[in-house]
Symmetry: C2
């Protein structure tokens, strides 16, 4: 995730005073370092998951070097399973930066795990517009979500669960 | 204010579930229409002030046309005076889009009127970088603010009062 996108999401974490953030798609952990910086302020914690064991190892090393290790649980696994295992409404903010064609299948769980006024943030909403298009329709047509597209980095789609 | 900047701030309003927003520099009221859209969701209200009576008249007409009139108090006056008359800590989010050289003098009031985890948003932080530079140092060097620059529209500087 480009720094501009991670910075926007870290501002949203602070703005909401989010303490429970779930990232699907850890990659090298650079975005997690940004989120951890915000969670240090809010007293919160990140759970971030990646399906690739090598990326998990790299992310742990990067978080350690950044002094951010204590703010993040890095898990090796499938985002869909982590979502399915999450109870209703404990999460302040979910970040999607993973296998985009899988997002549509995440949707029933995403709307279930977010708290009221919880936030969904989806990276690559401009750079991979077509891959995100089918998913985007879901929060956009759900009455409880207010959806906006922010043209920072590769494009960040946000949805706030306003009712 | 360009739509991209107004959209970012409206997302922050929803993310924070802000109900009390103060805008200094109403201009034609287009940004106020974006903010009102978010405040409709949160059950909140905008106070927006401009020193130019013609702009106040135009903004009222634009808000009326947009069906957003009921979410905004449009006031004719000096932002500095409005800030000085505001009690401590009732405001969720302050937007500055006015006479940039005056912002430094606003600062003691800005840090006073914002609630904990309140948000400061300053437009034109890239397009008028030099005019905003002296002000930017104030939240950036205040331990209680986390400051970020978002490169949308003309550049939006945000500061969240994290402690």
């Amino acid at each position: 995730m480009p720094p501009h996108a991670a910075r926007l999401i870290s501002t949203l974490i602070r703005a909401r005073r989010a303490t429970s953030v779930l990232e699907i798609g850890t990659s090298n952990g650079c975005s997690a370092i940004w989120f951890a910086d915000a969670l240090r302020d809010t007293g919160g914690r990140l759970t971030t998951v990646d399906i690739d064991a090598e990326r998990v190892t790299a992310a742990l090393a990067n978080l350690e070097r950044a002094g951010a290790r204590e703010y993040a649980d890095v898990r090796h696994g499938d985002g869909a399973e982590i979502l399915a295992d999450t109870p209703d409404a404990p999460v302040d903010l979910v970040v999607l930066d993973a296998e985009r064609p899988a997002y549509v299948a995440y949707w029933p769980h995403l709307r279930r795990v977010l708290k009221p006024y919880g936030i969904l943030a989806v990276d690559n909403a401009v750079s991979h517009r077509n891959q995100v298009a089918a998913f985007r329709e879901l929060p956009a047509s759900a009455a409880e979500f207010a959806v906006d597209l922010h043209e920072v980095g590769d494009g960040v789609l946000t949805g706030v669960r306003v009712r």
